[in-house]
Symmetry: none
Subunit: 190 residues, 4 copies
């Protein structure tokens, strides 16, 4: 090995891909992604053998990114509702700060380029969240739901809320709060 792959370039490609996918969908061209990443067209394929590989790796990278942001500062000792609110606010704030990443994730979610395997791996993020809340189920505060539905509810309601925030950024607080009320109503027992 003369030179190892540059982590920096790899990240530049992923960042550029996120922007491109956010604004153009998964049909964003590799040429554009490469150019915006500051590398040559061919170099992209040194790091990702096919476009599909790039798409899937982007999906995982975004999920991981979000997870890191959401899990930080998790208040392990607070009560269930407060912990849920922490997770909600973190998710919204991450999405509000990273609109391109969120929009890219939405595009990837509906694309058939993202394999079942990637989806499964990506799901782990919210499974982690769910397990954070196991105590909530035990205590009867959270409503029992089929496997995966809590995570999915979290996903779609944050997404929906963010859509409103993107349209009216200065009402962030209002939407975040109203969204949380819907969220808490959706997942808790009366």
């Amino acid at each position: 090995m003369a030179r190892p792959l540059s982590e920096e370039k790899r990240n530049a490609i992923l960042a550029s891909a996120a922007d491109a996918v956010a604004s153009l969908g998964v049909s964003a061209s590799t040429a554009k992604i490469a150019k915006d990443a500051g590398i040559a067209e061919g170099t992209l394929f040194v790091y990702f053998p096919t476009k599909d590989d790039l798409i899937n790796e982007l999906y995982l990278a975004l999920k991981a990114d979000m997870k890191a942001a959401v899990a930080t500062g998790y208040p392990e000792t607070a009560n269930v509702k407060e912990r849920c609110e922490h997770l909600w606010n973190r998710s919204i704030d991450w999405g509000a700060r990273n609109p391109a990443k969120r929009k890219a994730m939405r595009q990837l979610s509906v694309s058939d380029k993202v394999t079942a395997a990637s989806r499964k791996a990506g799901m782990a993020v919210f499974q982690d969240i769910q397990s954070m809340l196991d105590e909530g189920f035990a205590s009867g505060i959270l409503r029992r739901q089929p496997q995966g539905m809590l995570a999915a509810t979290t996903d779609v309601l944050t997404d929906m809320t963010l859509e409103f925030i993107y349209r009216e950024p200065d009402k962030l607080e209002i939407y975040r709060r109203s969204g949380f009320e819907a969220y808490w109503g959706a997942i808790s027992n009366k």
Copy 2:
């Protein structure tokens, strides 16, 4: 008139487009859509001058289709919760019976080919639903939310629920019920 435009062909194109968009996204080719509709490539453009027109008309047709299914048999005299449950069940049943249409709608929702005007027109469907529930707001049963959020919540939670149903069709009842609980919790006051 030499030959009138055939309503039948127009519908065949829209149906074919729905299937194609459901499985391939909006990048589904007009050639495939035409072929599956049983017409020549050029004929598609007799009915829809551009692909973008087709995409937008498809969006509106799907919304209208869904609305028709959902509004049928609406129990005007029942109480608010029952009326909501009626709407919920209708939506889920429509989606369960028309997976391609639902999937197509998801693809269209994230596509920038669908114009703001089409989105606005499409929104009317859920606005109608919301207005059906106005009494619910007046009586304090439904939680007050920013304009549009109730409709959006309905949309994303039915979508999410259907995703589970598509994966396990024989658990339709379970998911529909659990979904409604989340939905009712999300929109009602405690």
Copy 3:
């Protein structure tokens, strides 16, 4: 024969074709030509079996139109130079009044859709002009030239002069005069 072909429609098609060819070249679509003529797409082919036929008939019609305009009022008894000047001025005036027709003729002149037969037939116009001037050759006032060159010279110099006039219509007089001086110099003996 139920109804005979309508001369009026035929002329409308030719007029529309002239305009279309003038502005778009011979690649102007038959659909546009038909529409601007106020008839249906298919009707055009009732009058002209193929587009090539239309193109060639248009060429001949334009030549005939021009010839009619140029020959009117020819001063048979005037001297050679005066007769030439009459022809020149008529040509220029016709072109100035009918820019679309002139431009269409230019487009047709370079198109390979116009057959050699049409060209030959079209040439007759200027051959007639040339024969009007036979006396000029006999008397030695006009320079002897190879067959056809006088006609061709007339054609290209009027065309060139008109190009200037189209750009600056209010200098018509100046260009017409200067053009004639060049023309007379080109065809007469010193």
Copy 4:
């Protein structure tokens, strides 16, 4: 640089385009141009981003080619008529040797794909010729004409003369001479 753009390929495309435009007009397909140039269809667009760009660059290349041929060996010290004759003969000889290029130029001249900017740049060729003859105006040998008319006259009369030469190549001398007489008559004072 991976591989530099090949000047050779660029020239092959321009040469192929000249041939295609000469015989088929500006509607000659990029597919044919590419094929005849010995490259893939897509490669053409590596060298010329759009067909319009190719058309305009071809126009300029042809003008430059002609200018080079015409200006070579210009007899600066000869008298005005001899210098004009030199220019005339050079022009005719270039056109006789390069019929495709000349025909392509005629097609381009009437095409609206050639922009005003290209035309202006192309005009410089004949403006140069005109300025070579400035002394001719000063001395009163050449007739005073509106700006641009001398250049245009040169253009259309060479074109016309070449048309005859293409039809009867073995009479080149005769047509060139007769053409020059017309030309000299057109531009000089009696």
